[in-house]
């Protein structure tokens, strides 16, 4: 009896001595910052020394009120929802489909495609962000390619006008023709389009015709510009595209690895019974991977909400915050301009809350529709 008690006490001591260090580390490294974030979100702490500096106190849910009244918060939340949607309904289905194509050997060189699609995930997101921001910039290759198309189309129209009868001199018909093919651009350049354009055309000598054509193309051909960035939602398209491009390969690898675990005899039997490829995918492979899909969805959601570096490198949340997401909004609030630490912590709490809600929804969906692996 005594021996058993002694053994029990030793076991408890050993248990405590082993659990205590990681428990303390957890308390100081994880639990304490989370608790501090909750406290700060309810405080009026204004920077500087936290203890021994300017006094601060708990003021309640003031910052949360400010947050809900701030249109930039809702804009950031909406952008986050776009990213969650493209991740869950873009990366996962696409990753699954690609993995299935490779798994079932429907495409040749599966290993090659697997490698190619996974490459973006191993490049630093900062590098990817900078690279795509250059690609989408006004001097980038997309702008260059699009502007060349616009220019050549406009150039053909101008050439036809300048060649047509009456196009030799500067006639009213020529001026009208240029206004007609240029749309509103003439009004953007000249305050009195008809008169100013006529003066402009008359400033060229007859032998300057090639130069005139080139100049008219420079002036009036439609240009790739940042206008699309001004429209909330549309402004996020480049970011959503890069998000899809960057991470789909990760889910491909996850799904493909898990597909290897499926008993191939089941699939073979189904095929012998006349099941189509779509039926194999929908009735056998998909239900078998429901647990994997759930984990992938959780990864997707948490990644989408904490996604920061890619957007920071691509747009910095700008222009005028139209591409801002919650994590950048939090960072800007804490470290840029008028630093507001309580508000930044309130945003952090909202990110946690939002991700919990989404993960609970995912669990619910899996419970309702998921199969068993």
């Amino acid at each position: 009896m005594i021996r058993r008690n002694r053994k029990g006490a030793e076991g408890r001591r050993a248990y405590r001595s082993m659990v205590l260090p990681p428990f303390l580390i957890y308390i100081f490294v994880t639990a304490f910052p989370i608790a501090l974030a909750v406290i700060l979100s309810l405080s009026n702490y204004n920077g500087g020394k936290m203890f021994g500096g300017e006094p601060w106190k708990i003021v309640g849910f003031e910052q949360y009120g400010k947050l809900f009244a701030d249109p930039y918060f809702w804009n950031a939340l909406r952008n986050n929802i776009y990213i969650v949607l493209i991740s869950v309904f873009g990366q996962l289905p696409l990753g699954f489909l690609l993995a299935y194509l490779i798994y079932r050997k429907i495409v040749k060189f599966g290993g090659f495609w697997q490698g190619i699609l996974y490459v973006p995930a191993i490049i630093s997101v900062i590098v990817i962000g900078i690279m795509w921001s250059i690609i989408f910039s006004p001097y980038g290759p997309i702008a260059d390619a699009v502007n060349r198309v616009y220019s050549s189309a406009y150039s053909a129209k101008v050439s036809a006008l300048l060649r047509s009868p009456g196009g030799e001199g500067v006639t009213d018909e020529l001026v009208d023709g240029i206004i007609d093919i240029s749309g509103s651009t003439v009004g953007d350049i000249f305050s009195d389009p008809r008169a100013d354009l006529k003066d402009f055309l008359q400033s060229y000598e007859p032998e300057d015709l090639p130069m005139l054509k080139e100049d008219l193309v420079n002036l009036f051909a439609h240009k790739w510009n940042a206008d699309f960035l001004s429209k909330p939602g549309v402004a996020m398209i480049p970011i959503l595209f890069v998000t899809l491009w960057c991470w789909t390969g990760v889910y491909l690898i996850i799904f493909h690895a898990n597909m290897q675990k499926i008993d191939t005899q089941i699939i073979d039997a189904a095929r012998i019974d006349g099941a189509t490829e779509m039926q194999v995918m929908g009735r056998i492979v998909l239900p078998s991977l429901s647990g994997t899909l759930l984990n992938a969805a959780i990864l997707c959601i948490s990644g989408s909400l904490s996604g920061f570096a890619l957007i920071l490198a691509m747009t910095g949340g700008g222009p005028a915050r139209v591409t801002q997401v919650l994590s950048i909004y939090m960072y800007d609030t804490a470290f840029m301009g008028a630093a507001n630490y309580p508000l930044a912590n309130a945003i952090a709490m909202m990110i946690v809350l939002f991700s919990l809600v989404l993960i609970l929804i995912t669990f619910g969906v899996e419970k309702a529709f998921g199969g068993k692996e």
């Binding site: 920077g47 500087g48 001097y139 510009n225 001004s230 222009p319 005028a320 915050r321 139209v322 301009g337």
Partner: protein
């Protein structure tokens, strides 16, 4: 090993250890772009100090632009402001001033030392905390119009004196595929600091801003709205392309140097980007071309301006000493020695030759200057009036929505009236908080 050798070695080791332990370590947060010309030369300036002062060890961090401000904010939040810190007289360094996180340099540097500087930089009214928190290295002109005169003369155009003349050039420049005015508006502070402050100074004036801060006039009043409308006009007229909002601060100088724009608007500090990097011997604009093909001018006359020729200017940045260093301690003495060295005639001459800024020290001259440097001095001399840089005059909580609003005007998502309303709302909140 005999006894004598052993004790000699032991003495040497103990002496070295003692000497090392007596070393004073200073942490420094400096503002410098590692890709800017002259970076290596600036590093050698610091290296020289460490060689000349073996009892002081410098642990230095170099950052620039947003990463600098964000790191400083993190240090402040953690209560670990570096011993010597590069800082602004207000604006993004407001928290250092407001919470008195840096010492008053006046008693530490002494009157005799400070007499070597132009009186304007010693005027503590220009610093947010009302004391000499940092010693301004220069007077900083935040609006300079860099003109490619060669490009203009090739098109038989003249340097514009009025906005109307600038507007009239747009078709001629665009016809040749040249952008009229280039600005790096991707960073939201650029429009406010490098152009809008001058527009406000010209159309509204500093007195009006003072009255707005006192709650006597409102940003929604027509004077201020008109200044915002002028920015909108610049975009509508095509003088300023809406796609400038996609151009980052780093890429603009190279675009201007490559002849992609006739005019480039930025602060006086930007001249440094075009100069020869002493290490590589490469310049964005060759010194010979600096002399013949470029000019610095004030922004052309704005229709309806009340203060013709005014240009936004502010006390320059400089180094401050952390208030957490105990008074009279060896660390404080080391920090003062370092600051005095950084502002010494010798160092300031090197800095001037690198074209980083026109120093506030009165006794600094050099014959080894690239043409842009005397041209910038000439630009200073040509400006008769200065006005506020708004991020120096307004609280961060007020100028942040202004910065965003100026971008929104550029994008066409907000009207000048809406931006004015947002700024006034922010000011009202700030005024209410200060009344408490």
């Amino acid at each position: 090993m005999n006894k004598k050798t052993f004790f000699t070695l032991l003495f040497a080791v103990v002496f070295s250890l003692c000497a090392y332990s007596q070393k004073t370590t200073l942490t420094v947060l400096d503002y410098i772009d590692a890709t800017a010309p002259g970076y290596a030369e600036v590093q050698s300036v610091w290296q020289r100090f460490m060689v000349d002062n073996p009892d002081i060890e410098i642990v230095k961090e170099d950052l620039s632009n947003e990463p600098f401000h964000q790191k400083l904010a993190a240090y402040v939040a953690a209560g670990t402001v570096p011993d010597v810190v590069y800082m602004y007289p207000s604006g993004r360094s407001t928290i250092l001033h407001d919470q008195k996180l840096v010492k008053d340099l006046e008693p530490l540097l002494g009157k005799e030392y400070l007499s070597a500087f132009i009186p304007a930089v010693l005027d503590t009214a220009g610093q947010k905390g009302g004391y000499l928190a940092e010693l301004p290295q220069s007077i900083c002109y935040s609006t300079v119009v860099y003109v490619n005169t060669k490009l203009l003369s090739d098109l038989r155009l003249k340097v514009p004196k009025t906005y109307k003349e600038l507007r009239a050039m747009v078709p001629r420049l665009k016809a040749k595929g040249i952008r009229p005015v280039l600005m790096a508006n991707k960073d939201d502070w650029v429009m406010q600091s490098c152009l809008f402050s001058t527009i406000v100074g010209r159309m509204v004036g500093d007195d009006w801003i003072d009255r707005a801060l006192a709650g006597k006039v409102k940003f929604t009043d027509k004077e201020f709205v008109k200044a915002l409308e002028f920015v909108q006009t610049m975009y509508k007229d095509g003088v300023l392309g809406r796609d400038t909002i996609q151009i980052s601060y780093g890429e603009a100088p190279a675009l201007f140097a490559a002849g992609k724009a006739a005019f480039f608007i930025d602060g006086d500090w930007r001249q440094n980007s075009f100069l020869t990097d002493p290490k590589s011997g490469v310049a964005l604009i060759d010194p010979a071309k600096q002399e013949t093909d470029f000019q610095f001018i004030n922004f052309p006359a704005i229709p309806g301006e009340k203060n013709p020729g005014a240009v936004s200017a502010i006390l320059g940045c400089g180094y401050g000493i952390s208030a957490s260093i105990p008074a009279g301690s060896a660390k404080e003495k080391a920090a003062v020695r370092l600051v005095k060295y950084l502002y010494s005639r010798e160092v300031q001459t090197t800095i001037l030759e690198l074209g980083r800024y026109i120093t506030s020290r009165k006794d600094v001259t050099s014959d080894a200057l690239e043409p842009f440097i005397p041209k910038m001095k000439a630009y200073y001399a040509s400006t008769s009036k200065t006005c506020y840089v708004l991020d120096g005059a307004l609280d961060t909580s007020v100028y942040t929505p202004l910065n965003l609003g100026l971008q929104e005007i550029g994008l066409g998502t907000k009207t000048p009236e809406q931006v004015a309303r947002t700024v006034q709302d922010a000011l009202d909140l700030w005024l209410a908080a200060h009344k408490k």
